[in-house]
Amino acid sequence: MRRFMNWPGHSWFALPARWYLGVVFVIACLHKIAYPGSFALDIATYDIVPLQLVNLMAITLPWVELFAGLMLIIGFRTRAAALAIACMMLMFIAAIIIALAKGLDMSCGCFASQSAAEDDPISYLTVLRDGGWLFLSVYVFLFDGRPIGLDTYLARRKKAHA
């Protein structure tokens, strides 16, 4: 097991996973940042978050997605970004499972608003997709060796100056 965990090839597998996740999260946050009111309605539709927190969540969550996504793409504090994304994925998966259990016929609000509900309704396939992203974020968290990225550049620069 330890041998598997320390296999150097993981770094290179984690690299495309890191970029893919980063791009997904940056794309996912754009609509939410542009239309916070629409995203607030999406959150309210889940009927999980108290009304007092709906707008705060709608304003802040997309920015956390943007920061985490960009950090994964540029390779800055990638493990922290992957951890933040894994936590968000757990939260999204739980919300979708609760909505499915309630029988809500709605969009997940992941990339667009509720107006897309007819084209992209939530289902257990949505849970499976989010589960895949959760797996990727955990993989990046565990195995990203930062072969390419800002952390690598900064570490080399620090070493050169030492």
């Binding site: 330890r2 965990m5 320390n6 150097p8 993981h10 770094s11 940042i33 542009a34 239309y35 916070p36 009111g37 607030a40 309605l41 309210a44 539709t45 009927d47 009304l51 007092q52 709906v54 707008n55 705060l56 709608a58 304003i59 802040t60 969550l61 997309p62 920015w63 956390v64 943007l66 920061f67 985490a68 950090m71 504090r77 493990r79 922290a80 970004a81 992957a82 951890l83 933040a84 936590c87 809500l104 016929d105 709605m106 509720q114 509900a117 007819e118 968290f141 565990l142 195995f143 990203d144 060796g145 930062r146 072969p147 952390d151 690598t152 570490a155 080399r156």
Partner: protein, 181 residues
């Protein structure tokens, strides 16, 4: 190319110290992102209040019934035909107060699609009755519950589905309330 930073699992710091550092960084990232998000909301052209002032209207879209349904005049003789299967889409109390003989009551709810079990039962009864057409009687409102239930039934693959224009009210007026029970 050599990896500069080895992953923390096998490093001397171990998993727990790596996790602690990542947790600390993740918390800082989250806080920084939240602050920027809150500040950006002030200058955002579509900014929203930090706390919602009123409840959101969160009615989720109803599934659209897609079957074909044809309008039928309330005085049409087809309504008295033995080859017509009658369904009444009104509430149970309205159905009890007046209905056409032999009609099956299936109350229609705009916000809740008719359960598949009920639609299956309707299809079974239509098939066993030997009827050649189905006529759904609604409340005659706009929209008409008979028309929408008819669309649901037709959407399940049942052919020759009709609804009565004006619903039960028009039927009562046409028959002088004499045709009902």
């Amino acid at each position: 190319m050599q990896t500069v930073a080895k992953n923390d699992i096998g490093s001397s710091g171990g998993f727990s110290s790596g996790l602690g550092k990542a947790l600390r960084d993740a918390t800082l990232i989250t806080l920084a992102a939240c602050v920027i998000g809150l500040l950006s909301n002030f200058v955002h052209p579509e900014g929203i209040p930090f706390v919602a002032e009123k409840n959101y209207q969160t009615l989720v879209p109803c599934p659209v019934a897609g079957g074909k349904v044809t309008a039928l005049a309330p005085g049409d003789a087809v309504l008295r035909s033995s080859e017509t299967f009658l369904i009444d889409a009104r509430e149970e109390n309205e159905f009890r107060s007046w209905s056409l003989p032999g009609a099956m009551n299936v109350p229609y709810d705009y916000l809740d699609p008719t359960p598949a079990k009920v639609l299956k039962e309707i299809a079974g009864r239509i098939a066993s009755s030997g009827a050649r057409r189905v006529v759904v009687i609604g409340d005659g409102q706009q929209p008409d519950s008979g028309k929408w239930l008819g669309k649901e039934i037709s959407g399940k693959g049942i052919k020759n589905v009709f609804f009565v224009e004006g619903g039960a009210k028009a039927l009562q007026a046409a028959s002088g309330s004499g045709g009902g029970s």
